[in-house]
Amino acid sequence: MRSSIRALFAFFVAAFFAFGSLPAIAASGDATVGAVFDISGAAGSYGDGQKNGLQLGEDYVNKNGRVHLSFDIEDAATQKAQAVNLFQTFTTGGKVVAIVGPTLSSEAFATDPIAVSAGMPVLGISNTANGVTALGPCVFRNSLTEAAVVPHALKAVIDRYHVNTAAIIYGNDDAFTKTDYDVAKAALDADHIKIVSTQTFSKGDVDFQAQLTSIKAANPDLLFVGALAVEAGHIVADAHTLGIKSHVVGGNGLNSPQVYSLSGGAADGVVVGAAWAIGAQNPGNIDFVEKYRVRFLKDPDQFAAQAFAAAQIMENVLTAAKSLTPKDVCDSMKSMKPVNTVLGAFSFTSNRDASGDGVVLVVKNGRFIGF
């Protein structure tokens, strides 16, 4: 017994020393790009879509044949410490030329400085917090921030309907949804809409009746939901149950099939400002959505689309790069020409953020369509 325990222990010690070689050598091809996603843990459902999208993107790029690309996708398990370790392994392993990820902005603030000091370019695909790309000269993102999409969605609804008052419900323990609140409040204040109720919730909540009952009592014309997909689905369902008639508006977090799959018909009429539309009629997107459905038996969400776009961006960046070193890849990203992606024609701003205003969508019969 005792010796077997020691053997076990020795195994783990050995495994630890062995995993210095973690980044797998690209099976075929010229360039490996690391990817750090939260495939398990609290943010697992977002990282899962990202993994799927990136895998699909890898196949797509390699089929095009302009560059041979392989993604080394690793799971950070929604643990900041693990994301940090993966970034360090990638930046020092000498095998990857860039890193895609991490899933959460709160991870990015801890991981991206590591890449910055190693001169490794980072492409965030779901980091929406303010200041992420300011972390360093090679930190990029292809995700439109809430600041870019939410004001448009609010404006569209205010222009179309009669809106004098609004209420906000948002997750106050999450950087993304807290940003939602800041952005929405600023936009509503600018339009002189009176905010009659502000409610918060916590990550993982499923019961929103208390907050929504308070909101219902304030009877707002518009209800802004600062939430990620799962919580948003519950909020929309609860609001429907309680008979709240306000126009519901949300940001990127609501651009997910879960919003209608978790709330049934209740989601009809929800207006979403987002970076990507599942029904966008560009050929690349139609092809992507179809392939995704075939391979993963469900609709892609925005996380998956932005991951796929990351593959399309890397294809162009690597093709144009002078050499496949982190430094040249970074330079190539800085000088990247607009690329056709599933997100539409994509380019970086001078601040390395995604350019564009996004789209305003509305749920109708359980589908997102243009508002």
């Binding site: 918060t200 909540d205 208390a210 009952t213 009592a217």
Partner: protein, 292 residues
């Protein structure tokens, strides 16, 4: 609005109470804080979901989920607590081993079902909404409220009126004395785990049906709340867990309505903390299970 908030609080509180019932039963009988209870809550919901998706009628699927939960509870006892009981380990080891089994259960669900949130087909869970005066609720909520009360009453009857109940109470009072009068301790422990875990699973199933969401991390929503409930009501007390559950549910809703939603959970924990300082035995916990 007050009326609606009170109703909201009672609904969610009854689910907390049902979840806490298993916690409190196991604590009353074995003096163990079973932190794997939340994972059984989750696996019960998944089992029912899988059965429903396979076409099993809802009621049967709920029974199946409860059965699976009960068996998982017995398994939990065998692998995590029984070996420690045999060597009379201190109170710390079972706490850790229950965390370990919780990780295994959650990890298994994560492995099989992935991290996505799953839901029941809408034709299964869609229920009519009623509005009575200022109060709106769904049939599902009402059913869950009544089912929770009924299950608690049933457990109370079982403890008071049956041979098994008498044996459980005797073991809770004094295991050694119970053994002397011919009670098979291990069998009582196993049955206690079955009942407690089946109740935990039912709580998970009802929770999943009300909010129509099943995920591997759903247990974390009730894990700490359940602790608050049993402390407030009194460790080991069945009526206490009902009272505690309803009070926690109400205090959540009322703190959202009249104080601040941002501090909702802080208020719950502050109540918990004060209760422990002022009256560690809880509201009804003076004699615990012994007077159940």
């Amino acid at each position: 609005m007050l009326a609606q908030q009170l109703v909201n609080g009672l609904f969610i509180g009854s689910v907390y109470a049902l979840f806490a019932l298993g916690y409190t039963l196991i604590f009353g009988v074995l003096d163990i804080l079973n932190l794997a209870h939340a994972s059984i809550f989750m696996l019960g919901a998944f089992t029912t979901l899988v059965l429903v998706l396979k076409g099993v009628p809802l009621l049967l699927a709920i029974l199946g989920g409860a059965l699976a939960g009960g068996l998982l509870g017995v398994l939990l006892d065998r692998v995590a607590f029984w070996p420690l009981r045999r060597r009379q380990a201190g109170p710390l080891a079972p706490l850790i081993s229950s965390i370990a089994v919780g990780m295994i259960y959650v990890g298994t669900a994560n492995g099989i079902f992935g991290p996505d949130v799953r839901h029941f087909p809408f034709d299964v869970v869609r229920t009519p909404t009623y509005t009575i005066g200022p109060v709106t609720f769904t049939l599902a909520q009402l059913t869950i409220f009544i089912a929770s009360l009924a299950l608690m009453a049933g457990l109370q009857l079982l403890l008071r009126r049956t041979r098994l109940g008498a044996a459980i109470r005797a073991v809770a009072e004094n295991p050694r004395a119970a053994q002397l009068v011919g009670i098979d301790l291990e069998s009582v422990y196993a049955q206690t785990f079955f009942i407690a875990s089946a109740l935990g699973a039912v709580a998970g199933i009802l929770f999943a049906l009300t909010f129509n969401a099943v995920s591997s991390v759903m247990g974390s929503a009730v894990e700490l709340k359940g602790l608050a409930v049993i402390v407030l009501g009194g460790m080991g007390s069945i009526p206490g867990s009902l009272l505690g559950g309803l009070l926690i549910g109400l205090s959540e809703d009322l703190s959202v309505a009249y104080l601040s939603s941002g501090y909702r959970d802080a208020i719950v924990f502050a109540i918990l903390f004060l209760m422990l300082i002022i009256r560690p035995t809880g509201l009804l916990g003076k004699r615990g299970l012994r007077t159940a």
